[in-house]
């Protein structure tokens, strides 16, 4: 079944294929990043489940490589929720995961490529 086609056509949901292992006559697995209107995302997931597609959700997360980070703080200026801040005492980068909305603007901003997502 052309799943990503149906997601786009019927629900206006963009599906970015991150990983795919699909072979004939076997159970396949797709890792998709879905983007679209929140209600249509819910409807799309309900539709997939109705088609006997097992759906498990994984939220994207920002990862910071402590060994690579130089604590320059350049990312703090583009972080819209102030999840990334410099500690005024230690001057080290502080990441408050609960504030992060995974907008990913920090990733290309980092000059030493210390920031990535888990997807």
């Amino acid at each position: 079944m052309p799943v990503t086609y149906r997601l786009a056509k019927d629900f206006n949901v963009a599906a970015n294929i991150i990983r795919a292992a699909v072979a004939p006559n076997q159970i396949g697995k797709l890792v998709l990043e879905l983007a679209g209107d929140i209600d249509q995302l819910d409807a799309a997931i309900d539709w997939m489940r109705s088609q006997n597609i097992g759906v498990s959700l994984a939220l994207g997360e920002i990862l910071i490589d402590e060994d690579t980070c130089v604590h320059c703080g350049l990312c703090t200026g583009v972080c819209p929720t102030e999840a990334l801040t410099l500690n005024p005492e230690t001057l080290r980068l502080t990441f408050t995961r609960s504030r992060c909305i995974v907008c990913e603007q920090c990733i290309p901003t980092c000059p030493v490529q210390a920031i990535s997502t888990n997807l």
């Binding site: 604590h71 320059c72 350049l74 703090t76 410099l86 001057l91 080290r92 901003t109 000059p111 490529q113």
Partner: protein, 393 residues
């Protein structure tokens, strides 16, 4: 009050009093300049920031038969070879020459310099000019810092005395040497660490000169010359600190002694590669004025807010802001509150000053008298059709 010789004598006897410039600023607030000047012998300062006008001199050692290298690539990054037969200069901002259809990788000369310092292998490809002295036409090998003769950083422009604050007043995102600047004053970036920065604590460059020994990339380096674009005649505040980019220094130091913790390749999206470098300067407390200058605080230092949406040599500015405002994380521009981020690592700048302090306390780093002063009367000559002089007011 003290001479460099007397201070070095104390360092060698492990009894010199050494403070970082942050410790000094805090103590002057409570004890005053005169009392502190009697107490402390040496003040250490440091910075860790991108310094793109940097590069490495490398000598390969001749091959057999010998080669006169004219073109050369280190991990695909071109190195300058227009001098001695196997002498190379690898610039920090040199970028990978992408092959047809290959996407340019986010890697440049700064990363190769970091890798060599970390003793990682680097691929070298060279094309020679065949002559009677040098018959070999080409050469390929893997080098490490152990298999090359000289490997030293020779950086034409480091240690900027103050810099600018970048913003974007236009309507599209800009990718700059200060990182991404978001449209409609979406963010601001400053790159000098302010009151802890070495040259803001010696505004008239009275304590250093050609030959001054410094901390460079975790090893020992020296001030080689005035830096390129050295502009000491920049307008100055009554405390003698400049209101924008001013003095610069050319630095030199043995890269084989350096540590990759303090020499880091970096890449700015859609701008290119660069090099982040830790540099530390120790100030001898020769007289009370040294303390008075080093006591300068972030609220007494300013930088101009420059609009990068106008791609001209002299860009419009939104006036001056203090480093105290910048370090608060927000500045007001045209009545709008704008988030500010640093580009220098304030954390690693502090670590440089601490490490240099430890070296001096351990007696492994002594101070030097400058061999020659840095000129303080250089004006700035732009390449304009009209040949006019810039006065950066």
């Amino acid at each position: 009050m003290r001479t460099v010789t007397e201070i070095n004598d104390k360092i060698n006897r492990r009894c010199a009093v050494v403070w970082t410039v942050e410790e000094l600023k805090a103590r002057v607030l409570t004890a005053g300049v005169t009392r502190i000047a009697k107490e402390v012998d040496v003040i250490t300062t440091g910075t860790f920031e991108p310094m793109e006008s940097s590069g490495a001199i490398i000598n390969l050692g001749q091959t057999d038969p010998p080669i006169k290298i004219r073109r050369c690539w280190l991990d695909g990054i071109p190195a300058y070879a227009g001098f001695g037969a196997v002498d190379l200069y690898l610039g920090a901002t040199g970028a990978v020459e992408a092959l047809d259809g290959e996407e340019g990788r986010e890697r440049g000369g700064g990363h190769v310099i970091e890798d060599l310092i970390a003793n990682k292998p680097v691929q070298l490809r060279a094309i020679g000019q065949v002559t009677d002295c040098y018959p070999r036409p080409s050469f390929e090998t893997i080098i490490t810092r152990e298999t090359i003769n000289q490997f030293y950083l020779f950086n034409p422009r480091n240690l900027y005395q103050n810099f600018i604050v970048g913003v974007n007043g236009g309507d599209r995102p800009l990718f700059t040497y200060l990182g991404p600047l978001q449209p409609r004053l979406g963010n601001a970036v400053y790159s000098n660490p302010g009151a802890i920065s070495p040259l803001l604590n010696d505004p008239d460059l009275q304590l250093l000169g050609v030959g001054t020994r410094i901390f460079l990339g975790g090893g020992i380096g020296y001030v080689a010359w005035e830096g390129t674009q050295h502009f000491p005649l920049q307008k100055r505040l009554p405390n003698r600190t400049p209101v924008g980019p001013a003095a610069t220094l050319a630095l030199i130091g043995d890269a084989k002694q350096m540590n990759p913790r303090w020499v880091r390749g970096c890449y700015f999206k859609s701008y290119g590669p660069s090099l982040m470098l830790g540099v530390g300067v120790a100030m001898p407390v020769l007289h009370e004025e040294v303390i008075a200058r080093c006591a300068v605080q972030d609220q007494d230092l300013v930088a101009p807010v420059v609009d990068f949406s106008i791609p001209r040599r002299v860009r419009p500015t939104f006036g001056l802001v203090s480093y105290a405002q910048l370090k608060s994380g927000r500045i007001a521009i045209d009545g709008k509150s704008v988030r500010v981020a640093p580009l220098a690592s304030l954390f690693l700048s502090r670590q440089v000053a601490l490490e240099l302090k430890q070296w001096i306390e351990a007696g492994t780093f002594t101070l030097t008298e400058p061999v020659a002063p840095i000129p303080m009367d250089r004006s700035f000559l732009p390449q304009d059709r009209w040949g006019a002089q810039m006065t950066l007011d």
